[in-house]
Amino acid sequence: MVKQETMLDLEFRSWLLEQPEGETLLRCYQCGRCTSACPVAEIEPSFNPRLFLQKILIGDKSIAENQLVWNCLTCEQCEVRCPEHVKIPHILILAKVRGLMAGNVPLAALDRARTIISEGRSLSVSSPMLKTRTKMGLPDLGTPSMDQIVAMLADIGIVGKLENVKSVYGDAEDE
């Protein structure tokens, strides 16, 4: 069903183009090879990387407000096949970042982001896990350099904001 929408608000597009590698988006000529290469699109027809790029290109920020973008596995199959070298997974990450601040983020992802700020890792490491690692002969994980990590995250403006974000999907979201 075709629905009508009005534009033009280019704020989201401009923001994205200013980010590192963001302007590779402009190279896109909408051939659709990314979508046909995408393993997620094969299973979930509504997941369409080419369509995401088209929406961002014409200033439509709905992709940053939709949970669908979180389905991207960042497998980079699309980027490998893109004839114009658009950094598609990276652009989708930027869209996730944008959505994240407004709460378009699965709780699990938000938790991991917070774990990085607090522990320097995306997953907390429990003592049973460390024991298993030792048993398997895996090397010591060491201690993350928290000072540097927090400084970096503060630099990109995450620290202090993430704490207040609430996932619009709440706890109900399944993984």
Binding site: V2, K3, Q4, E5, T6, M7, L8, L10, L17, L26, R27, C28, Y29, Q30, R50, L51, Q54, K55, L57, I58, G59, E84
Partner: protein, 439 residues
């Protein structure tokens, strides 16, 4: 004497054809019959030398006329010669039927015998060729033709449209190249074609043939003159015309609607901070040519680089230079694929509505300007000109090529050629039109 020479062609033709029977059947038709192997080789040619005198009529039955014809015509002293391609037309096509093949050979040889009887002696016809070319101008290609021909020492008469100036070349040809390149090219060409006699006016009558055409010209001043030229080059331009959607887009009614040809002027006048939103629409019924596509891409790139927000509604993007398309995308032009459905002139701006087929969604854009891609049509004078010159037109009203694959710059009439967009496509080079006059 009427003589028949049959070639056995490495002893193959007499294997497929019954030469003994043919010799017998042809006995009464010819005064002498010779059978020889490989007539086209030196020993065969020497044999022909010794057997043929200038008064003879000769029929040669051999492989194909093109293998044997060229070397033999140089060696045979006589004028009346007919070649019968026995191998190509008989042996190869009737391989399994020696009897039938031999009968066909006899018939062909017999016909050739009659043919040589009716041949007229060769006469040399002298024709006057006027080493002068008329270029019916208006297109930059006409200037290039003039310049090239002058370099060859050919006299050139350049017939330009009424009230024409160098500036007209820049304005009328701007779609062909980047404006700075175009200006330079025109300056050089005007300089190098200075020796051409320039007339402003039109051609009113044509008679004669290739090599010697009589033309009547009517100058803008009212003066009439008659001239002889060897050849004519039609280099009338194409014209930009508003597309069919122009009316729906309120072209001519609203100040917000422009043609793409007017956009460069608008951008040039624009103050640095006064950026606009511009919607450029290509008529969906029109398949963009590469020239049109390149011009479109160059123009919208410039508009976008000036800080304007440019949206292009298009179907297939056509250009010879993929990098023009890349540059337009890089400049930030927003491409939507679809055809303009509805346009509303409101206080806030022109509201342009279309379905973007790449997302199956209807979108509305409120913009400061709506710019329409033009369509290149033959210049207004083309029909009348073709009438005067007796040339055929194609279904779009452009002058038709004689044979579009191998004779791309020839019109339907010998000695009349075209250059440039008189014929929908444009080559930045000029063509070897008046070879015949040059030699």
């Amino acid at each position: 004497m009427k003589k028949l020479f049959l070639c056995t062609c490495n002893k193959t033709l007499n294997k497929w054809l019954d030469y003994a029977r043919i010799e017998k059947e042809m006995g009464s038709t010819f005064d002498a019959i010779h059978i020889h192997d490989a007539l086209c080789l030196e020993e065969g040619l020497t044999f022909l030398d010794s057997e043929v005198s200038a008064e003879d009529s000769v029929v040669i039955g051999a492989c194909t006329s093109q293998i044997i014809g060229a070397p033999m015509s140089k060696r045979l002293k006589c004028e009346h010669i007919s070649y019968v391609p026995l191998r190509e037309q008989v042996a190869w096509v009737h391989k399994d039927d020696q009897k039938g093949a031999s009968s066909k050979a006899s018939v062909l040889l017999h016909d050739a015998a009659i043919q040589v009887d009716y041949m007229d002696p060769q006469t040399i016809v002298e024709t006057d060729i006027e080493k002068k070319v008329l270029i019916i101008g208006g297109c930059i290609a006409g200037l290039k033709a003039a310049s090239d021909l002058l370099k060859l020492g050919v006299e050139v008469m350049l017939l330009e449209p009424s009230e024409w100036s160098r500036k007209s070349y820049e304005e009328m040809n701007q779609f062909m190249a980047e404006s700075s390149n175009l200006k330079d090219a025109i300056r050089d060409l005007v300089l190098s074609s200075k020796k051409a006699k320039t007339v402003r006016g039109k051609i009113t009558e044509l008679s004669g043939n290739a090599g010697l055409y009589q033309i009547s010209l009517k100058h803008d001043s009212g003066k009439e003159e008659s001239n002889l030229v060897g050849s004519i080059i039609v280099a009338t331009n194409a014209e930009h015309s508003p597309p069919p959607i122009a009316k729906m887009c309120r072209y001519g009614k609203s100040d917000r609607t422009l043609l793409i040809t007017e956009l460069p002027t608008l951008i040039a006048k624009q103050a640095a901070k006064d950026t606009k939103t511009i919607f450029v629409a290509v008529d969906p019924s029109h398949q963009l040519s590469t020239v049109e596509g390149s011009y479109l891409l160059r123009t919208i790139t410039q508009a976008s680089e000036k800080g304007n927000t440019v949206i292009l509604a298009h179907s297939d993007i056509s250009t010879k230079d993929e990098n023009l398309y890349r540059a337009a995308r890089k400049a930030g032009v927003i491409f939507v694929r679809g055809s303009l459905e509805k346009v509303k002139d409101s206080k806030k701006g022109m509201v342009c509505r279309l379905e973007n087929t790449l997302e199956s969604q209807v979108r509305e854009f409120t913009v400061d300007y709506l710019v329409l891609q033009t369509q290149l049509k033959p210049s207004r004078s083309t029909g009348q000109l073709a009438n005067v010159l007796g040339l055929e037109l194609d279904q779009n009203g452009f002058i038709k090529t004689r044979y579009s694959k191998m004779k791309p710059v020839q019109t339907s009439k010998r000695g009349i050629f075209f250059a440039g967009s008189a014929k929908t496509t444009w080559w930045p080079w000029l063509f070897n039109q008046s070879r015949r006059d040059v030699i």
